[in-house]
């Protein structure tokens, strides 16, 4: 093993593994989606998928969830990250506490919020106890689509904002203090400092966080399953259904391809929208 070839030997296992367990299944699932049950290539799986009554709802729900959760949690994470820059003592403790949800599975998070939102749950107990309502409010029932949506949004924000917070706190740490100081001297108040200096210089971190979270949001699965069962269809849930319950791999593959395409599309949009012009980086 020569000196020149050493790095190749070192990355070979990881590279081969990635080819075998990422690129290969990726091509497999793409092929499977376009393969007709009788053999040969066709769009019949996609037609089955689109023709099913749940597809439209699942697509709409998934996109709606993504469009609600991601912007909201960006705002929350930005506020918390900004808050942390002004805290003198206890900053680390706060950061530890606020990132606890990172270690919590999305299934567990769904169960946690189930305990809050279910008919006899903590929310209703509190509402009754405070005298706000006379009888328990139905949130996760069959006809409570809007309330269920809100419940899922809250649970998802609770569970997944920590990773955005970590990315943003790390990004803010890279911005030299002198820019905010210069802005202050030239008349910028707190809001102006945030919008005209901090936010623009956070572009790379914002881009990373948005891409990561949007892809994960399109994959939303266990939180919805725990909170609403099959009452609130989402793309990933339907994928699971077709694969496991209906034993129809090809249609599940079609669903997977829809999710994959949306993910790539969204990534490309963010890469373009939030790119930093040449010479304008930190």
């Amino acid at each position: 093993m020569t000196n020149k070839s050493l790095p190749y030997w070192l990355i070979a296992p990881a590279a081969l593994f990635t080819v075998a367990l990422f690129l290969y299944p990726l091509s497999l699932v793409t092929l499977e989606a376009f393969t007709a049950k009788s053999g040969g290539y066709s769009l019949e799986n996609f037609q089955t998928m689109v023709g099913h009554w749940k597809f439209g709802t699942a697509l709409k729900n998934t996109l709606m969830l993504t469009a609600l959760v991601v912007p909201l949690q960006m705002v929350v994470a930005l506020s918390l990250a900004q808050l942390l820059t002004r805290v003198k003592s206890g900053r680390d403790t706060l950061l530890y506490v606020w990132t606890i949800p990172l270690g919590i599975s999305d299934l567990a998070a769904g169960i946690i919020w189930l305990g809050i939102f279910e008919q006899t749950g903590f929310l209703n107990s509190a509402l009754i106890g405070l005298g706000v309502v006379d009888a328990p409010v139905s949130i996760l029932g069959f006809n409570d689509t809007f309330a269920t949506l809100v419940a899922i949004v809250l649970a998802e924000i609770w569970r997944s904002t920590a990773i955005v917070l970590v990315i943003l706190v790390s990004g803010i740490g890279l911005i030299p203090k002198e820019y905010a100081e210069a802005a202050e001297v030239f008349g910028a108040g707190a809001w102006a400092k945030f919008t005209k200096v901090t936010l623009p210089l956070l572009r790379p971190s914002l881009q990373t966080a948005l891409i990561l979270r949007s892809i994960l949001a399109l994959e939303v699965f266990a939180v919805v399953a725990a909170l609403s069962g099959t009452k609130f269809p989402v793309l990933m849930g339907e994928t699971y259904n077709w694969q496991f319950a209906l034993q129809d791999g090809p249609v599940a593959a079609a669903f997977a391809l829809v999710i994959l395409t949306l993910s790539v599309g969204v990534t490309l949009v963010y890469l373009r929208w939030l790119r930093v012009p040449r010479g304008a980086g930190l």
Binding site: Y179, V185, F186, V276
Partner: protein
């Protein structure tokens, strides 16, 4: 009436006394230089005047008004930071325009003034560039232009030649003299004592947080104590 007047400014960081009862005044059209070894507190003093730090004791007056209770954004001062702090995400134009933008002035006025100042600092051709595309000297000019936009009575400079090669240093000092000739008072913190004293009207020398020497530039240059401590004999 002095443009800047400081009385009895004292500042400690924990158990470290950075400034002990400092007083100084910058008169109209005066070029004042603040000297001293690293860590003697000169940058801290500038930051206190600008509002980026608060003194434990003492008063700061600008143009006859007491300002030490005001937030930095309300003090209407002009400063060129060490390492210039030119905003990397804004063009030269927007950097220079920053102060007036914060004051919400209309676009035509902003444009006119930016072009005027850009000519003064020789940057007319570079208005749409980003700071990553500029040389160190050009970035200093952006910082100076940005400071001049607010038509200040006093311009503060924090070690403008830090980390700069000797050739560029001469250019920088020339540009600062140009600004001084327009009638603006200058308060400059500098490490390069000799050159600073050669171009300044007066100098203060701080030693471990206290006023040690105060005199005209020429007198300080000639003073044997000053020469021994700061000018290499």
């Amino acid at each position: 009436m002095a443009n800047i007047a400081i009385q009895n400014v004292t500042k400690s960081f924990g158990s470290y006394d950075a400034l002990k009862g400092i007083g100084l005044a910058v008169a109209d059209q005066e070029f004042l230089v603040l000297l001293g070894a690293s860590g003697c507190g000169k940058s801290t003093l500038l930051r206190i005047i600008a509002g980026l730090e608060t003194a434990d004791i003492g008063e700061v007056h600008v143009g006859g008004e007491r300002i030490d209770q005001l937030q930095a954004k309300d003090r209407r001062l002009a400063m060129v930071f060490q390492n210039y702090a030119v905003f990397p995400h804004l063009t030269v134009f927007e950097n220079i325009a920053f102060g007036l933008r914060m004051q919400k002035r209309p676009q035509e006025i902003v444009s006119a003034k930016v072009n005027q100042v850009a000519r003064m600092v020789h940057l007319e051709a570079l208005l749409d560039r980003y700071s990553g595309q500029l040389s160190g000297g050009q970035r200093q000019q952006v910082a100076v232009g940005r400071a001049l936009m607010t038509q200040p009575k006093v311009l503060m400079l924090d070690e403008p030649t830090a980390g700069v090669s000797p050739i560029v240093m001469d250019e920088l000092f020339d540009r600062i003299i140009e600004v001084a000739r327009t009638g603006i008072s200058i308060l400059m913190v500098e490490q390069n004592a000799r050159q600073a004293l050669e171009i300044a009207d007066r100098g203060y020398v701080l030693v471990q947080g206290a006023n040690r020497f105060t005199d005209t530039g020429a007198a300080l240059l000639a003073d044997p104590d000053v020469r021994k401590s700061f000018l290499g004999g």
